[in-house]
Subunit: 494 residues, 3 copies
Amino acid sequence: MKNCFLVWFMVFVSVPAALGATSRISEETEACLKCHRLAHPGIVADWQNGRMAKVTPAAARSMILKKRRVSFDEAPDRLARVFVGCAECHTMNPDRHQDTFEHNGYQVHVVVTPEDCATCHPAEAGQYDKNIMSRAYGNLQNNPVYRALADSANGIQTFRDMKTTQKAPDAETDADSCFYCHGTVVEVKGAVARNTAHGEMSFPVLSGWPNQGVGRINPDGSMGSCASCHTRHEFSIEMARKPYTCSECHKGPDVPAYKVYSVSKHGNIYSGVGKAWDYKAVPWTVGKDFTAPTCAVCHVSLVVSEKGEVLAERTHQMSDRLSWRIFGLIYAHAHPDSPDTTIIKNKAGLPLPTELTGEPVTAFLIDAQEQEKRDKTMQGICLACHSQGWVDGQFARFEHAIKTTNEMTLTATRVLLAAWEKGAAKGLAQKDSIFNEAIEKKWVEQWLFFANSTRFASAMAGADYGSFADGRWYMSKNIQEMIDWLEFTKGGLK
Amino acid sequence: MKNCFLVWFMVFVSVPAALGATSRISEETEACLKCHRLAHPGIVADWQNGRMAKVTPAAARSMILKKRRVSFDEAPDRLARVFVGCAECHTMNPDRHQDTFEHNGYQVHVVVTPEDCATCHPAEAGQYDKNIMSRAYGNLQNNPVYRALADSANGIQTFRDMKTTQKAPDAETDADSCFYCHGTVVEVKGAVARNTAHGEMSFPVLSGWPNQGVGRINPDGSMGSCASCHTRHEFSIEMARKPYTCSECHKGPDVPAYKVYSVSKHGNIYSGVGKAWDYKAVPWTVGKDFTAPTCAVCHVSLVVSEKGEVLAERTHQMSDRLSWRIFGLIYAHAHPDSPDTTIIKNKAGLPLPTELTGEPVTAFLIDAQEQEKRDKTMQGICLACHSQGWVDGQFARFEHAIKTTNEMTLTATRVLLAAWEKGAAKGLAQKDSIFNEAIEKKWVEQWLFFANSTRFASAMAGADYGSFADGRWYMSKNIQEMIDWLEFTKGGLK
Amino acid sequence: MKNCFLVWFMVFVSVPAALGATSRISEETEACLKCHRLAHPGIVADWQNGRMAKVTPAAARSMILKKRRVSFDEAPDRLARVFVGCAECHTMNPDRHQDTFEHNGYQVHVVVTPEDCATCHPAEAGQYDKNIMSRAYGNLQNNPVYRALADSANGIQTFRDMKTTQKAPDAETDADSCFYCHGTVVEVKGAVARNTAHGEMSFPVLSGWPNQGVGRINPDGSMGSCASCHTRHEFSIEMARKPYTCSECHKGPDVPAYKVYSVSKHGNIYSGVGKAWDYKAVPWTVGKDFTAPTCAVCHVSLVVSEKGEVLAERTHQMSDRLSWRIFGLIYAHAHPDSPDTTIIKNKAGLPLPTELTGEPVTAFLIDAQEQEKRDKTMQGICLACHSQGWVDGQFARFEHAIKTTNEMTLTATRVLLAAWEKGAAKGLAQKDSIFNEAIEKKWVEQWLFFANSTRFASAMAGADYGSFADGRWYMSKNIQEMIDWLEFTKGGLK
């Protein structure tokens, strides 16, 4: 029994004590918990399950560098010796927050932002700011080409006199569609009084709420939401490292990363034996903590070998390990240099990283040297389990898929250009939307669904999605159907 | 070692004893087991894994109300002190069962029905009877509009003289398609003799068998199958509470609930950390037993807070918490008042809850007050983890999605009406099926796939299915393709 | 504490000792590990997790027959008393291997093949050789009809003068698409020098690499890859028995086995409670080790009852339990007799198991007696958990689905024949590809996607995929769209 006691002591008493586990909940957080424990028991229970409810920032800072999950240099006085609870986050930086409101004597804000999290995690917030995801709102909303694509999907169409008309979509619909993942603009739009267990209270009314999109524009002016991946209020590293988190936004036909992963050998290993892995270890040791990559292994996490060799540094700028941008755009191309892609202009004056015929707008894209560097970073992980010959073959095949899918998109584009030229459809020259007619929508699917899917399948070795499932079969069929459309339509072939 | 012994005693001896765990298998069940243990070892093992093989109804009844899984008032003599085994269910109510047959001296029936289960679970059976799912057979079969939709999918088409003809589908095909989930009619159609280990024996031949559809018409005249969700013969509450059970019928493009859930934040939390939850606890405590909802949390289960406050009462009338009916129908509308929807008649005389142009047939639908009541019931669960502001935003967005998807369906309907009017297709006026021609099938997909999907995505916050995956992109494209069809066809635009 | 010690001793000392667990790594493997532990830590860790790193072939052979996982008669001297490590496999049969190269004094080859594995697993390798999957490369590549289908999907199309032209696909694209699952030809194409931690070394350059396709043509002339399902380098039987392994290739619209399983009752049980099952037990006991089938239960594994009765013998010729071939071909038909289907010739001289109008080419297919035998083998498993009446109903419904889906394919074929006849499309008579035009692609989807999906749904009781999800709805709609195409096109109806 003595051993049992020892183990028990180690696990429940001495280790937490070392981490600062004798209750160090701040007075302010205690005040929050007093009521919210009853009002929102799920939130409180979730938080209690998490690490932030058990470890002070100071204790987190005291670990050796490789095991550290915080990146601040100096512990902020207010936070150093308390657990990170309700008040610590929801009253952080009150002056910067447009959504700060008086609540039971505290200056509370609803929306915790990357800038708030940066108090303890400045390195991660800094990396994320260079991540194209942090600009997901503006890169869509402020790019007239992509805004027109969103309009074409979200706008209400009406039918009269054998013609359809499409209205611009309202903000509610946009928020429920594209901007659910891209992020909404969250602003205070007034206040509302509500009867609560403690009498009438006033709360801010927020636009674009709820939202946890990766490029959310926050009431403190910051961009993004750490909670997109680090789900409130447990902030479980296990959850962030599992592929379901990424699949929230990366599963549709436009970006089928999760679906491809799920039919890949990597995905099979994860699904088959991944339940025995350690998803909480920092750093994350290949072969010991896991035996096949999840999304996080290749794209985010600090990965080491059992000997302690660093195979990849942690990054929250996911493009750090990516040389190509393979989805969302008409043609795949070298990754953009800046996370803000609205600054790009091609020869036609459009904010696109390639011409309509596929040539890259190199001035705004990373060069071959940077591409090679990023490939090497990624391969540092591949090589833990694969020989150089295997990896070389894989990368060569992937780059070939980029080339051939771009060629198939070009062919579809040429059919569309012919349709515009012959007056079968109205396009750029007619200053009409290039996304609203049936043949234009087929063209969009050629690249947004089928070419993307094929490239993902190649990149992550989930061949289903490069053959019959939204892959090469559909690229091939779609071109034939575009040509038939041109034949059938009045302004078509002859 | 003493403690170990104590734990062992508690778990394996004293607790089961209190529940009646010294073997209390009835003589009749022992007789069944003697042979069936050999003939169908999987069934017996499954049953042994379950709770019914370990707890007598009397013991189940003796628990405090909140923990109780049975709802009868008086323990039926025959069942009170025995475990619920083969004989208890398969010889229940022999006179009501058309499928009762003599088997080794017992009056056995094959198909255990909700009326049999109601012996111990009368409240649940009563609720389920008010559940629209219990009428899933008749609501399809006896509604000429929906029967025509089933015909259009299941009937064999032939091609001759450049024309197709479609036959009415046979019962086998219907049972393999729509009625697999909706439920078949299970009737005795004769008897068959089979050689068994115990000599030749006679067994009833059943129509529509096998089937576990939610609206199955049983040989005792009852409707439904508890085994749809409470899978035989373990009847595991864990399984019923996991989303895979619901996904058996709610995963297709017509009702993508599971797919939407799987890309929602709730689904992500479940997939990421749900393996540690307690799926067997009754009542089910938010924050302690689970930290994000499965289907059952929002739609069925008795949910409480750690303080014991009831957040939602258990219901097997799933519409209890649903104000809107968002799928299966041309337009979303307030939930029907009666589970039997064949009684509805719109102005055009069709058994539909809305006119063809979307106006609800209010006389048969719940009113605004009842809708508000149901919303409040649902929100009791939401508020465990979300603020009122979050919930208000979510519900407002959802109702907006109902409105806009209905508008997009109306536009598609107008194109179809034009096609009928111009003679490009044959519809109601020509007394032709409204589902058999290509443009009619496109119209069906507008509401049955794309509008439904968009509404599910909005309701459960799985935005993929409201944008590119069967969502708004397809609603928008489909209208354009319907108009093109009208242009291309002989009777079309001009 | 004594008991604890005893258990500890049994598990960690005495059992492994009996199996030969005192380290028995060969000198050669030790030499490999010395460097590769650093170079590829993931590979080594994976192998160490597996059974081959812990059990010698001799110990594996010494178990009673039913528990045995090896099938050799005489232990090969070199292998009998060592664990199966790097050198054991990668230096096996060096003379047969075109890819053998000198590496640090050893004759090493990269690609371990079924012939190598056959050293210890000759029965399984022999069965697999009779499995149609082992011929997946040739059955596609050397069948001109299927090769043309692959061309039509994978070839690059160009557009000029209002016409498209399609090139034959290159080997890279083929390897990334169809042959990813079917298997590539892996041949030595030269050598490359690489700088390593041990100076410059030479490695063979392989064509079609990486690849783990089921019909891979190996550098020793053998066919297939055991690693398709027995994932390197852990070779976990648990993984092979879980459905994710099969889903790597059997998830797309052409072969939606996994998707159908996932909405079936069997799949629901697996997903809901399968985490508690024992996936490593040999033999595999129904009711004890698992309570619902995974793919392996029905198609591969040695399955027994708790009484030890064999319900099904292990087979790696998956067709052993399959009377019908329901996917990949234009019409479902009795299973081919030979795994090499290129030997089949129909009356039209095409290498197809049916005529274009569906009549089976019986000379090359198994007869009714063999079909019945295979059905009985499969039903041996079904009956563990289902009555004969249930099973009879299920099989009758399945055979009916084969008949009706074939009829619907025939109708689509007749529309296509009309299109060819009227000159609306170019087909066999014009010696044009029968897969390259839009209407031909629709015809392909009729059988390759929709009829297949419907049959899988029927076979495995996942009705979603037989109704709206790629099932009967699409079969029905597709025929109408083919006819419309014929009307719209210049050479069409009139």
